[in-house]
């Protein structure tokens, strides 16, 4: 929580990026406490590791201090406050953490996956069996999303480099070596 406030308050983007990495690591710890080890794994690797490095890479390309704006804008503040209030209001309806009578523990999906997975799939980690087998289509879509994201970033960054090359400002790796 305090890291989140610090990220908002700090003007130095460099420290903000490092703090957001720390924030991700702390949330990964929270996920471990809540027994969601797979999610914690992803959060630690992606949030604290790779995205911090990528943001640092972006900072190396741009400026490291935030632009100060003089105008105080009311509308964005209002939108943020309303959304936050709505989110907090909606948590009041949620069952308590660890409540054995929560709908998710009584309903169809939990019983189907937990009781049938060991027979049907034979894989001890239910998360993997749901992810790769029961929800195989979704994971295929997810993989295609990552593929598309990678290709998109490559196209964007490459293309602008080639356009620069006509202006002789961008040094290509072939001409470099």
């Amino acid at each position: 929580m305090s890291t989140a406030i610090a990220i908002v308050v700090l003007r130095d983007l460099w420290s903000s990026v490092i703090l957001s990495g720390i924030f991700s690591l702390i949330s990964a710890g929270l996920f471990v406490v809540m027994d969601a080890v797979d999610v914690a794994f992803t959060e630690a690797a992606v949030g604290a590791g790779v995205s911090t490095v990528l943001m640092l890479g972006t900072l190396a390309l741009t400026d490291t201090s935030e632009k100060r704006s003089d105008r105080f804008q009311v509308l964005p503040l209002l939108v943020v406050l309303l959304t936050g209030a709505a989110l907090i209001y909606s948590t009041l309806d949620m069952p308590h953490y660890g409540d054995p009578y929560a709908p998710i523990h009584l309903g169809e999906p939990a019983n189907t996956y937990i009781y049938k997975s060991s027979n049907e799939i034979g894989v001890p980690n239910i998360v993997t069996s749901v992810l790769a087998s029961y929800r195989g289509y979704d994971t295929l879509g997810e993989t295609v999303v990552i593929f598309t994201a990678g290709i998109g970033v490559l196209l964007l960054l490459r293309r602008s480099c080639e356009m620069d090359q006509e202006g002789k400002t961008c040094v290509n790796e072939e001409s470099h070596s």
Binding site: V144, G150, L157, C161
Partner: protein, 143 residues
């Protein structure tokens, strides 16, 4: 990074462990936490650390950007072709039961094989995509 001896030595010790851990997470995902996505990111972060220590030129000699870009597509292809393989063996798309030698009595064998291959595809795509995005950023920074 030529002078930072501590960083270089520690990274040299760490990088093989990171790669090994990534492979463990990849192929042990059936039994413990982890899977293709996490393993891919861990593998990629190992390559990122290597690039930070030895510099972009030497890293791109070891991990050629062209090959890595092809690997991004190969991961998705592996995933898709497992689905087609299931179709060819008489099941539905991505219905791994059809991959088993004896689908009626031991469908789990097919499930094991299918999940292993599919996770491998996810891992390859994620690792290659993250590394190629990182290379693209760093390349742009040098110009």
């Amino acid at each position: 990074m030529k002078r930072h001896y501590i960083v270089r030595v520690i990274s040299k010790l760490l990088i093989p462990c990171i790669f090994l851990f990534a492979l463990y997470v990849q192929f042990h995902g059936d039994y413990g936490p982890g899977g293709g996505f996490q393993a891919g990111v861990i593998f990629a972060s190992g390559i990122v650390l290597y690039t930070l220590v030895v510099g972009l030129d030497r890293a791109q000699q070891a991990f050629h950007p062209r090959i890595i870009e092809i690997l991004v597509a190969i991961g998705v292809l592996i995933y898709g072709s497992v689905g087609i393989w299931c179709l060819a063996s008489g099941g539905k798309f991505l219905d791994y039961n059809a991959l088993a030698d004896d689908p009626v009595r031991h469908p789990q064998h097919g499930q094991h094989l299918g999940i292993l291959l599919v996770e491998l595809g996810v891992g390859i795509t994620v690792a290659a995509a993250v590394v190629s995005i990182f290379f693209a950023f760093v390349n742009r920074g040098r110009s």
